[in-house]
Structures are given as structure tokens and as C-alpha cells.
């Protein structure tokens, strides 16, 4: 599209981004408020961060959440990448339509349905609820997001390198690890990050599937939010936002660097050939 922005375009962008960012900014600002009242500025203070760290229940919940998110994102990335390969490389196998249906449906399925149905499965299987049930639930949800992210990379993937390797006698598994995986790695990393943050943030599915000793941070935050807005919760939210924002920015810088390096390598290869 053309490169001239009208005043209407500029206004929509300004208002749009103001709408998206002002609430989050206010939340971050008021986490540094001296006063307990969330609306009155009582001076700069980091005391709520201290309170937060001394709150053992909150810290326990944070630790559970990090473990669940790390484990579920890792399993989801493996399964989701395999699912993406299946969707792009295997044109026909029995039940392909069902398979793609099961990949896309969880993306939009209301969380109350996914959460409740999984819980009923665990109860029917007599599986005691806790850390593992939340982890399995999160893998099921997030692997579909990973599949979609990796699939979008695989669709634009140039297969000639793989074919060249195989023509030269490289076994398929080795071809995958030596050529395919490095090339799709940025998408796999992005998929892992998305899975990790989705798991970190999930309240509804975790609430249905949690058990004793597996209270996650969103469940803890939710129970406190119902009692009212406190600066301590603002501090917790600020830390979560900072972690996610840093992760996303780091991942995008990494992706950019990988691309720049690849371009440089390609140019060097061309120069050498010439």
C-alpha cells in the first residue's frame, strides 16, 4: 500500500495505541505508589515490591506457575512442531480433516468449555488433580498455537536445501536436525514463548484443573482482585508484564539477528561461488 499517511490514519494510530497502552501504564505507575490508595499519588516507593516478595503464598504460586509454564511450553513446542510438519508435509493420511480441526478448534474454543471437559476427563480417569493436570491442560491448549506459528514458517520454506541433502544421501532424521530445524528455529522459539506466556497467564483452564498445592499465580491474583485493587497486586502484575515484554523483545532481536546472519552467509556463499 502507499506510503502517505493521512491525518485520519495518524489519529487512528495515536488513539488506538493510547487506548491499548494507557491502562497498562497506569497500572505500572501505581505499583510504585507510596499510598495504599490506588488513585491517590503518595510519592514514589518500591515498598509494595518488598511486600510482594515477603508474601510467601504469592511466591509459592509464582514458583508453581513458572514450573508449569516451562514444562508445558516445552512439551507443547515438540508436539506443536510435529503437528505443523504433519499439516504442511503430509498431504493425505486417514483423518487429516479431523486433525486440522483439532488444531484450529482450541484456538477459539471458550476456555470454560476446554477447562471443564478436561477436568471431567481427569475425574473419569481417576487422575488426581494438581501440578500434572494443569500442565497437561496447558500443553493441549498451547500446542495448537505453536503448530500455527511453526506452520506459517514451514509454508514459505524453501525445500530445495532438504532435497539437496537427501540427494547427497543424508538420512531424513539427520536432514531434519541439520537443515530443517535450524531454518525454522526462529518460529519454534516464538512458538515456545507464546506457549510459555499463554500458560503463565491462564486463569480459567487452570482453575478447573488445579488441585491441592498447585495454585498458580493467576488463580492467586484472581482471588485477591475479587477483594479489591491493591498496590501489591499492581507490583506482581508489573513484574509479569516486564518479564513478558523483555522476553518478546529479546526474541524479536534474536530473530532479526538470525536473519541478518543468514543473509550475510548467503552473500558470502554467492561471493565465493563467483
Amino acid at each position: 500500500m502507499s506510503n502517505k499517511l493521512s491525518w485520519f490514519n495518524v489519529t487512528s494510530l495515536t488513539l488506538g495505541f493510547a487506548f491499548l497502552y494507557i491502562p497498562i501504564l497506569l497500572l505500572v505507575i501505581f505499583s510504585f505508589n507510596e499510598s495504599r490508595l490506588v488513585t491517590v499519588w503518595g510519592g514514589f516507593s518500591t515498598k509494595w515490591y518488598g511486600e510482594m516478595i515477603r508474601n510467601q503464598a504469592l511466591m509459592d504460586a509464582a514458583w508453581v506457575t513458572i514450573r508449569v509454564s516451562f514444562l508445558s511450553a516445552t512439551i507443547a513446542t515438540v508436539l506443536g512442531t510435529l503437528a505443523a510438519i504433519t499439516m504442511t508435509r503430509y498431504a493425505r493420511f486417514p483423518g487429516r480433516l479431523l486433525f486440522s480441526g483439532m488444531i484450529y478448534a482450541p484456538l477459539v474454543m471458550p476456555e470454560v468449555i476446554t477447562g471443564l471437559s478436561l477436568l471431567l476427563l481427569f475425574v473419569a480417569m481417576d487422575f488426581s488433580r494438581g501440578f500434572w493436570t494443569v500442565t497437561i491442560a496447558h500443553v493441549t491448549l498451547t500446542m495448537c498455537f505453536v503448530a500455527v506459528v511453526v506452520q506459517s514458517r514451514l509454508v514459505t520454506f524453501d525445500r530445495s536445501l532438504e532435497e539437496a541433502a537427501q540427494d547427497l544421501g543424508c538420512p531424513p532424521a539427520k536432514t531434519f536436525f541439520a537443515i530443517t530445524l535450524p531454518l525454522i528455529l526462529p518460529a519454534v522459539v516464538a512458538g515456545w514463548m507464546l506457549a510459555f506466556t499463554l500458560s503463565l497467564d491462564d486463569l480459567v483452564i487452570a482453575s478447573f484443573n488445579t488441585g491441592p498445592g498447585a495454585t498458580t499465580l493467576p488463580i492467586k491474583i484472581y482471588s485477591q482482585v475479587r477483594l479489591g485493587v491493591t498496590p501489591e497486586i499492581n507490583a506482581v502484575c508489573t513484574v509479569m508484564i516486564a518479564v513478558v515484554a523483555l522476553g518478546v523483545i529479546a526474541a524479536s532481536l534474536y530473530t532479526k539477528r538470525v536473519e541478518v546472519e543468514r543473509e550475510r552467509a548467503e552473500r558470502a556463499a554467492v561471493a565465493q561461488a563467483g
Partner: protein
């Protein structure tokens, strides 16, 4: 010669690649729907788990079939709370999807028209809130909208509200709409932007060279070509909004009925698993057609 595939080769590796995610989704995504359907046909009981009958195995299925009851569904049809929740969810989902399209389209359009060098930054700015917790973003609005909140303070400072007046938005449907539009805006902008970015600018130039006014060019060229993005964005928002729980629970009042909240209360407060299963099954039936359309759109993209 069959096309070589990176993960394929020997048949067993190929089958492993397909089978691992396939089996996982069959067991943890598809199978639960049969269980939810089964339990929605059971009777409530004061026990753990709080329902009878439970099928022990497939062999006992026949004899247990007689004990199935449609009582929960009759109950849903009977109690106005449920059908009013469904209707209210549909209404809220429709209105907020329309609002999202109205607000999201100009933003996506401006992003697609921006110089190529700033587009990645703009895209990042839209994606970043999408990575931030839903719960946190909804929570941020409580501090703004509550009667003694920041909006009241700001309006009082501007002199738009008297010193004793307060905004009465919290715990109303307006607050729910604000929360939904805020939370789902990235979901609407991203597919719209993807469709608009692909648009060939020369088409618009040709139209203007031939004397087509910009407004007409928009409706004749831009809008029809962006329709796949519009459809994807609308379904991506509409379907999850139908079952939304966090937003109506935290921002809405007791008179804001939404089916996700009703299901949650049925499950956590009343501990009525069969009725909440029946609520979920009916919600699923309502959403089957939209979900199928969404999948068709996704497959084509």
C-alpha cells in the same frame, strides 16, 4: 519418485511424527467432549465426583443407558436464567465484535499504509499487549473505572465532573464492553492488517488515475480485498467472547448475564457438574457452525 520429506523417510518415523500430536489431541481434546456429553446426561448427587451414573466400562454401557436423564436439559429450558444468559452472551458478542471491527479497521488500515520501515515496530506494539495477561489487562480497568477510580479523578480535574460526582461505569454492561474491546483488539487488528498489507497499492493508484474518488475506491477495491481478514478477525473475536468469563465477572455487575459466568457459578458455587456440563454442551452446539466457518477460513489462509 516420491517427494523426500525431512521428517519422513522410513514409514515408522513418519507415523511417529503424525501419531504423537494426533493421539495427544484425541485423548485430551476430543475425548473430553464425549465425557462432557455423557455427564450432562447424568443426575446430580451429593458425592465426589458429584454425579451418578458413571460408566465403568463399555460393557455396562447398555444397562446404564436406561439411567441417562435429560433432566438437566429440561432444567436449562425451564429456568429463564440459562436462556437469558445465552441470549445476552450472543447480544454482547455481536455488539462487541461490531465495535471491534469499527475500531480495529482504521488502526489496521493506518498500519498497512505506514512506511515499510515502521511497520514491524507498529506490529510489535499491537502484539505486545496480546502477550500480556488477560487477567492483568482486565484488572487494570478496575482501577480506572471504579467510582473513586482514575477516570473520576481525571474528569474531576478537568472540571467535567463536580467534586462530589463519580463515574458510574463499573459493574455495568458498559464496563464489560470496554473490557472486551480492550482485550480483543489485537485479535481483530492482526488478521485485518495481514489482509490489508498484501493489498497492491497500484490498484488504488490506477483507480485514482481513472478519476475514482478515494471513498469509492475504498469500497470497490480495499474493502472487498480485505474481506478474508475481516471474516477471520470477527470469528477470532466472536467465538471466545461468547464464552468469556473473566471480563463479565470482574467488570460486569450482577445483572450482566453471560453464559461463561453462569457455567462457572454452576460449577464452582453450586457444585452442579451435570448442569454445568449441559450448559457447556449447549454452548458448544451454538458455536459449532461459527467454529467450522473459522476453520475453513484458516485452512485457506
Amino acid at each position: 519418485m516420491p517427494a523426500p520429506s525431512a521428517a519422513g523417510g522410513p514409514t515408522w518415523t513418519k507415523w511417529l511424527v503424525v501419531a504423537a500430536p494426533y493421539l495427544w489431541l484425541l485423548v485430551f481434546f476430543l475425548a473430553p467432549f464425549f465425557i462432557i456429553a455423557k455427564i450432562s446426561l447424568s443426575m446430580t448427587a451429593i458425592a465426589m465426583p458429584p454425579y451418578v451414573p458413571v460408566f465403568d466400562s463399555l460393557s455396562s454401557l447398555g444397562e446404564k443407558l436406561g439411567e441417562l436423564s435429560f433432566e438437566n436439559y429440561l432444567w436449562l429450558a425451564d429456568d429463564p436464567l440459562y436462556w437469558r444468559s445465552y441470549l445476552s452472551s450472543l447480544r454482547i458478542a455481536f455488539i462487541s465484535t461490531a465495535m471491534l471491527l469499527l475500531i480495529g479497521y482504521p488502526i489496521a488500515y493506518a498500519m498497512a499504509r505506514a512506511p515499510k520501515s515502521v511497520r514491524p515496530t507498529l506490529l510489535m506494539l499491537v502484539i505486545l499487549p496480546f502477550w500480556t495477561s488477560f487477567l492483568i489487562r482486565v484488572y487494570a480497568w478496575i482501577g480506572i473505572l471504579k467510582p473513586e477510580g482514575l477516570l473520576t479523578v481525571a474528569l474531576q480535574a478537568l472540571g467535567l465532573l463536580g467534586p462530589t460526582e463519580q463515574v458510574q461505569i463499573m459493574n455495568t454492561e458498559t464496563a464489560v464492553f470496554i473490557g472486551i474491546v480492550y482485550s480483543y483488539l489485537p485479535f481483530m487488528i492482526l488478521p485485518l492488517y495481514a489482509a490489508l498489507e498484501k493489498l497492491d497499492g497500484t490498484l488504488l493508484e490506477a483507480a485514482s488515475d481513472l478519476g475514482c474518488p478515494p471513498m469509492k475506491a475504498f469500497w470497490v477495491i480495499t474493502w472487498p480485498l480485505s474481506l478474508p481478514g475481516v471474516i477471520a478477525g470477527c470469528f477470532l473475536c466472536f467465538i471466545p467472547i461468547m464464552g468469556e468469563f473473566v471480563i463479565p465477572d470482574l467488570l460486569g455487575g450482577s445483572d450482566t448475564l453471560m453464559i461463561g459466568k453462569t457455567l462457572w457459578n454452576e460449577f464452582f458455587s453450586n457444585r452442579d457438574w451435570p448442569v454445568s456440563s449441559a450448559v457447556a454442551v449447549v454452548l458448544l452446539l451454538i458455536l459449532v457452525v461459527p467454529i467450522m466457518i473459522f476453520q475453513n477460513v484458516q485452512r485457506k489462509v
